[in-house]
Symmetry: C2
């Protein structure tokens, strides 16, 4: 339709299609490298690899049988560190990582049979391992963002957010940055990895079986933060 | 760094740089068309135009003098339909549109002098007007998403979300869609316009004065929804 060249500063979201079922013991970084190979994508410096947690959880064996609705509910309860609200069958819980989400992140979609997938034990550590292996294999300076799909208060619909991060700070801190009018910004902390997760979901989809996307073209600095840093300290939180 | 071609299904985020200060009475669609022209971007069928509300509010005269901190607070109070929480100087309020955000959406960054910008009176109507004019000028089938930057409970940092929409349904409804394993998805409603807003913010930034971005490459269907549809009905909301 349009043939105009893309302006400088453009950003690209590349879906990594063709990744098959992942099973316990699989090496997720090898799975990703195979997928990239199949798509003809060569990772380069500055690429951000966004991975839905589901393939990581499966590789790490965080899958359980839930033959009945009651078994599913018991599993979700066992994954919850605290419950914030309940309504009917819906439980809004705090996970052991500190994330607040429905059913403590236990999910039955995109898993075969009567099984459910839990969150990785330590998604930041998973992201870190994947980043190191991908960097070693490609020689590129990368970041890795592990995602899940969360609801939120007040707004309908779900969006993908970051639950694991390696190589990039999860928060872009603009404190002290002047805006276009020279005034210091009111908005100081941008949850950039959540924006990356949401952006990547646009090419991953929920039903298409694309568990990995590459974000290319963002200017970012190496950071050592973890997604756990995204958790608002309960004492500062007005909605617990 | 990388010369590999982008795989099919890739999505592109194009910043529209070079848009100057907008003043009351300006035609935002003309401002956008000028900006696109300056960047050499030609709109095509399926392009989604993401616009930060701030230039719309300014064009619509939704700017007020706030010479003192107290004046700023009074303005925020007057924009609030209801207050959900207060802590110190921070007010979490429901706007007249039904959105829940800090200070009822009244913001002092990226506005000259001791002034503050309010949300547009009807951001869906603003988006609609902009879409019709851009479609008439370009002949392309477009969608328009108007954004603001909101905080959220439980998670640190802010992300951009949609507060006005035209031409696309704000919610992608996957009810009844089977996942890659043939199971009907647990996740049924994706807030796709919020993901578009978050993605666009990656190229717009907060301090760079880029108020417009184009999302190119997404497959979407014409829809008639409004961002107001994103408001979760208070009776269904567990966090009021």
């Amino acid at each position: 339709m349009t043939a105009s060249p893309l302006p400088p500063g453009s950003l690209h979201l590349l879906p990594v299609a063709g990744i098959g079922e992942v099973t316990p013991g699989d090496d997720v970084s090898a799975v990703i490298l195979d997928g990239l190979d199949g798509c003809g994508i060569e990772l380069g410096d500055g690429d951000i690899v966004v991975v839905t947690h589901k393939i990581i959880s499966k590789a790490e064996g965080r899958v359980a049988d839930v033959p009945t609705e009651a078994a599913y509910r018991r599993l979700a309860e066992s994954e919850a560190a605290a419950v914030i609200r309940r309504r009917g069958d819906l439980m809004i819980a705090v996970t052991r990582h500190g994330f607040v989400c429905a059913n403590a992140g236990v999910d039955r979609s995109n898993v075969a049979g009567d099984r459910a997938v839990m969150l990785p034990i330590d998604p930041d550590a998973s992201a870190h391992r994947i980043r190191l292996r991908l960097e070693r294999a490609t020689g590129a300076r990368l970041a890795v963002v592990v995602t899940d799909t969360f609801g939120r208060p007040w707004r309908r619909g779900l969006t993908d957010v970051a639950i694991g991060v390696s190589g990039i700070d999860p928060i872009l801190d603009l404190r002290g940055t002047p805006d276009a009018n020279g005034r210091v910004l009111d908005v100081t902390e941008v949850a950039i990895v959540d924006e990356l997760a949401a952006a990547a979901d646009l090419v991953m989809g929920k039903a298409t079986g694309i568990p990995v996307a590459i974000v290319r073209g963002l200017v970012w600095e190496r950071g050592e933060g973890r997604a756990a840093d995204l958790v608002r300290p309960p004492a500062e939180d007005m909605f617990r």
